[in-house]
Symmetry: C2
Subunit: 186 residues, 2 copies
Amino acid sequence: MELSDFLLSLTPFDTDELKDITSHFEEEFIPKNMRLIEQGQVCKKLYYIKKGMVRSYYLKEDGKEITQWFFNVGKFMSSVDSFFQQRPSLYYLETLEDSVVYSISKEKMDLLFSKYHKMEQLGRLASIEMLTKVVNKLNAIQFQSARERYEYMLAEFPDISHRVPLGYIASYLGMTSETLSRIRRG
Amino acid sequence: MELSDFLLSLTPFDTDELKDITSHFEEEFIPKNMRLIEQGQVCKKLYYIKKGMVRSYYLKEDGKEITQWFFNVGKFMSSVDSFFQQRPSLYYLETLEDSVVYSISKEKMDLLFSKYHKMEQLGRLASIEMLTKVVNKLNAIQFQSARERYEYMLAEFPDISHRVPLGYIASYLGMTSETLSRIRRG
DNA sequence: ATACTTTTTTGATTTAGGTCAAAGGAAACC
DNA sequence: GGTTTCCTTTGACCTAAATCAAAAAAGTAT
């Protein structure tokens, strides 16, 4: 989906507004397995994913990677609290495929927020949408068996489940690769 | 904290705006153990907690209550996606103590959102704050031992941890009452 | 205070899923 | 094409936490 269509799906901008807003984004081509931001850095950009896929992850004390979220085509993506509060990111962001994204800096985003009332609305709606999804995952993780969690994943991200390494999905679901492998076997 | 101070802490409203906004809220006194909304109902109000405490919970298939969140004094509280999307709530909301809240209907809230650009901003900031907290909990739950999860709880809600029944906290943390009791023993 | 209900604690037992280790398979690289 | 490295699968074993059950403690109501 094009950025402008995505924006329209959340808030009824008129053509001029849309043109102005999208002009603040920059297109970037990012190859597979590139980091967009490092743990500890302040996240400077918010991204819209035009093509490809991205994950956020962090390292546990023992050095193990924990995948925290998958960001699919047609969504905003960032290390959210790092971007909005401009503090060090707890996560890495990394492309899982060759990707095309539109990026915008915090300064430009703030400018759009203050210029357009509707842009604030969009920000609010997008945040609530994200909040709903995270709460969903939390419920899935909190009291379900490993198998049920995998089924939640299949329902929530059907396309992703077979496009990324098993180990990433396992840690996203709070289980080991071995367990997920056994679940998939049946 | 008074509602107006809370609003000011997020967004710099001027006095007239603040007066108008707070006038749309209604004060309500709600005794302990009252339900503010039922699972399956559309949530009609957003609340600010002036005094007291509230929890959200849902019932698993086997009838067990799972506490999903604790809402403390000085915060907004609602069945968020039910309120904003006006669809059936997945949760109950129930007071844990005699409480005083300020409530506002969806219609009035939408009116304020469209009247004041800054109100949208406030909505966005409050959503992101909530999002950050839920993500925190998710990380705690996803890969930590029962004991570590309890320690997260002590850090995040120090005041709550000893004010509500142990069973509520246990299910909030994704463990049984027995396990939490053993953890507390030492 | 007394009886009744609900919550918490404690102990014994079970089990889902983790850990460790090693073998197959797939990608990536020269 | 053949190494090398990484990823996934499989098996054996172990452990944290669940379940079951029953006693103790704390609340609530009469």
